[in-house]
């Protein structure tokens, strides 16, 4: 059976949920082989085996953190040349898509981004134009390189050997041209990751300021949800940019999305309108967000949201 290479997303060896999803998907397409790059990767191997990685190709080194994108492409390109996999799956994050694009150039292959499903004949399902159109596409040249959106497949464990092979790949001269001199982490910890969460609670300009996000966070915590924000809120500096949902932020498709004080501009919708269930709280009855909402309340979010949080906590007992 042909191998399916899966590029692993991890933080210091702790494997992200999206990688478990990709391995689960890869099992339906061929023999999953995980590609693990970075430092502190040892702890990841067992978790990859648990989700079905038959092989784990490991490239250890600081280069992957010290230079932008290209060193990972060097490793993947070498593995594609050596193993001729049937496909390469990469998480559809901003960086993941760049890796996929460069790998496509390097291996003279086609690339498909933002897939929500891949079938056994390597046809990808993509949801385009903000979810209004569903497209089926296929790569017709080279090795299909497909980026898959987080939350597209339910991760299911299925232990395999997870045989580790260390690979050493010489970096191209051009791969070390963009040098990372400093890494700044501005995380609001403790909550599920935005693109992976089953429930997302978002706040927009209507929350009025950074302190206004308090009621949004309290509701999120009552539901075990991630917090999102509109561009108006991130531009104003009320919430960090990486929590922005929409065209130029994250695309999310949770089971439940609760928009608070968000008008529903087209660029915001582009990142959330494929959510299963949408709830909106807005004091303006004309706000376009209500066109999308399965349930909407016209009212002041500072009245409605705390009441909802209290009610959820009460019912949880």
């Amino acid at each position: 059976m042909a191998q399916i290479l899966v590029l692993v997303e991890h933080v210091d060896g702790s494997v992200k949920k999206v990688t478990h999803e990709l391995l689960t998907l890869a099992r339906t397409l061929g023999e999953p082989a995980a590609v693990l790059v970075g430092t502190d990767i040892d702890a990841a191997v067992a978790s990859l085996a648990e989700y079905g990685a038959v092989n784990v190709y490991a490239a250890v080194g600081a280069d992957f953190d010290n230079y932008v994108v290209a060193p990972t492409v060097d490793v993947l390109a070498a593995l594609v040349a050596e193993h001729a996999p049937a496909a390469v799956l990469i998480a559809s994050t901003a960086t993941g898509k760049e890796i996929a694009g460069r790998l496509a150039v390097r291996t003279d292959s086609g690339v498909l981004t933002d897939a929500v499903d891949v079938t056994v004949d390597l046809t990808a399902t993509q949801s385009v134009f903000g979810g209004a159109t569903v497209v089926h596409s296929r790569v017709s040249h080279g090795t299909p390189i497909i980026t898959v959106r987080p939350n597209s497949t339910a991760p299911v464990a299925s232990p395999a050997a997870g045989t580790r092979t260390d690979v050493v790949v010489a970096l191209r001269e051009s791969s070390t041209k963009a040098h990372v001199t400093n890494r700044v982490v501005a995380q609001k910890g403790g909550r599920p990751e935005l693109t992976e969460a089953a429930i997302v609670v978002s706040g927009g300009r209507g929350v009025g300021g950074p302190e206004g996000f308090g009621v949004v966070e309290e509701l999120a915590d009552a539901l075990g949800a991630a917090v999102g924000a509109s561009r108006a809120a991130t531009d104003a500096g009320w919430y960090p940019h990486q929590y922005q949902v929409g065209q130029t932020g994250k695309t999310v498709a949770p089971q439940l999305y609760i928009a608070n004080g968000i008008s529903g501009a087209i660029q915001h919708r582009a990142g959330m309108q494929t959510s299963k269930t949408i709830i909106a709280v807005n004091k303006d009855a004309e706000a376009p967000i209500f066109e999308l909402a399965d349930y909407g309340v016209i009212g002041d979010l500072f009245e409605v949201v705390p009441q909802l949080t209290a009610e959820i906590n009460k019912r949880k007992g």
């Binding site: 932008v68 901003a94 898509k97 760049e98 996929a100 694009g101 460069r102 496509a104 003279d108 292959s109 086609g110 690339v111 933002d114 046809t123 385009v128 979810g131 209004a132 159109t133 569903v134 497209v135 596409s137 296929r138 790569v139 017709s140 051009s174 041209k177 963009a178 040098h179 990372v180 001199t181 400093n182 890494r183 700044v184 982490v185 995380q187 561009r231 990486q242 065209q247 130029t248 089971q255 439940l256 660029q267 269930t277 949408i278 709830i279 009855a285 066109e291 399965d294 349930y295 909407g296 309340v297 009212g299 409605v304 949201v305 705390p306 009441q307 909802l308 209290a310 009610e311 019912r315």
Partner: protein
Amino acid sequence: MKIVVCVKQVPDSWADKKLSPSDNTLDRASVDRVINELDEYAVEEALKIVEAQGGEVTVFSMGPDDAADTIRKALSMGADAGIHLVDDALHGSDAPATSYAIATTLADRDFDLLIFGSESTDARCSVVPAMVAERLGLPQLTYANKVEIDGATVRIQRQTDYGYDEVEASTPAVVSVVEKINEPRYPSFKGIMAAKKKPVEKLSLVDAGIDAARVGLANSWSQVADFSERPPRAAGTVVKDEGEGGVNIADFLASQKFI
């Protein structure tokens, strides 16, 4: 500093975008076409750099005849000259083909920075800048929310999933910008008038040295097999808060088994 900015013509963000049933490519005829919003930020950043330290800004666009309007728009903001790659054989080019065409056209041009938007609002791939960097062997300074030039050194803040990275490279370099970086200017009346007289070089595939066998729908590296339009979301229930709005939502959540 010599800067080339890549701008794409796209359907208006608010338009209902559709694929055309005849060849599964974007139906560009039925919608208003505008400059890709993100590319306005790229033009603005180029203009700011040149205003601060001198130089010239050339805008490049690959697209059908009326992509010339998109080039004019950038010229009316203040760019100096345009390059328009237009050829029917380019229709339906995917990301590998587009990046090949851009890289081939610009490979021998003299520039210090090649600036892109971070994403086109129609394709939403966010791959072309990285692919062009790969093809040209240039440093990739993408997703910049801040660009600083210090002689031949370019420093950016690269927006990441966890915050940002500070990244440094020497020119010539490929940069892509996110919308946090600046506020694009509106063209002035004077700018609009001046744009009419600015030079725009029109290139065909042959002029640009592009291999026709590597671009266009039939030669793209991937194909759309079929598509379908998702039915619009069914209208939901909207109630006015009469003091019980929070409880109403809790009831709805309970009915949907969320709590």
